[in-house]
Symmetry: C2
Subunit: 203 residues, 2 copies
């Protein structure tokens, strides 16, 4: 089965519709999604930005929220703007790295639906623990492993890998031949590329 790397950030607004929609669409396309959390903060920092581009440009930021709201209507997703933005997705990303990979999609959907569907705040430990418990995981054990030094380094390495691949935003999709697609708007194109690479470059 062809694979598509799915890079996302737990604080990224457009990662929300991508995370909610990618699973079933990938299944329909016969593509295996490889879920790869990253942190946009360090990636933005490489270009001199100390916060989200939507904070740096408030006019663009205001548009983004309206655009996200319309997308949620279009794709029948709940939407509520959280009181804080950008939120710190560090703990969620660290937890995703210690979860069994088969548990990552449900965990990720639950975190982003809480954040942008209910307007929840995820920077705290508490909601992440609650989500893990609701999904039947041992929250204490997972959070402890997530915060261990080796896992902190693992996430840092994954973010460095993302930057070295030329990733500058999220969500980003990368096919097995290296073809990169940026943004929720490119989800369908990326799946099509992964399923049927152009000019017979079969994966």
């Amino acid at each position: 089965m062809p694979r598509l790397d799915f890079w996302y950030d737990y604080g990224s607004t457009y990662s929300y519709p991508a995370v909610m929609r990618a699973g079933p669409l990938a299944e329909a396309a016969g593509v295996e999604l490889v879920w790869k959390p990253l942190l946009l903060g360090p990636i933005f920092a490489k270009t001199g930005l100390t916060t989200s581009p939507y904070k740096a440009n408030p006019v663009k930021g205001a548009y983004m929220w309206r655009d996200l709201e319309r997308l949620c209507v279009k794709f029948a997703l709940p939407f509520k703007q959280p009181p804080e933005f950008p939120q710190n997705g560090l703990l969620a990303a660290r937890v995703a790295l210690v979860l069994d990979p088969t548990s990552v999609p449900d965990f990720t959907r639950a975190v982003l639906a809480f954040e942008f569907g209910e307007g929840g705040v995820i920077s705290d430990d508490a909601p992440i623990r609650e989500i893990l418990t609701a999904l039947g995981h041992d929250a204490d054990a997972l959070v402890e492993r997530a915060q261990a030094e080796d896992n902190k380094l693992a996430l840092r390495g994954q973010v460095e890998r993302a930057a070295s691949l030329g990733i500058f935003g999220a969500p980003t999709f990368i096919a097995e031949d290296g073809e990169m697609f940026w943004g929720h708007d490119r989800l369908e194109d990326a799946l099509l590329w992964a399923a049927v690479p152009p000019e017979g470059e079969a994966a």
Copy 2:
């Protein structure tokens, strides 16, 4: 017939597919497009940018060219990256303001097809004059009127108007009820909104 304001820039890469596709799609949707050239330079300058965001962030810029190339394949448009970017679309925008409005779509398609379909340079007078002549216009007379002081002020006013509407990039589509859509990726959504405003807010 419902109207949709279509703001674009003669040097903007994603304005190219929008300009080439908007006319027939608007006709099919029963929407009247109002073509409104702007200059992104002064709009970017308001956020402290002295050049295109794609120059300010070369990693994002490299991706943009690849993405544009793929979009052109998808929509069967010719594509050739011009040797310069961003190009100065000042003369083309000034000419568009003095043309009969019914002549603006053909002129605009010709300029952007030359720039991004053939990799042409439009900063010069010569190609703009050639395009005008090929379309049956009096190039000398139009360029003279385009460069007159009152027309320079008219374009400046139009750019100020764009900024006051919250426009931060191009292409941007604005429906009669003020709803704004940014980017070639939102062309279809904008036309649908203009044709059938949600919740019965008929135009």
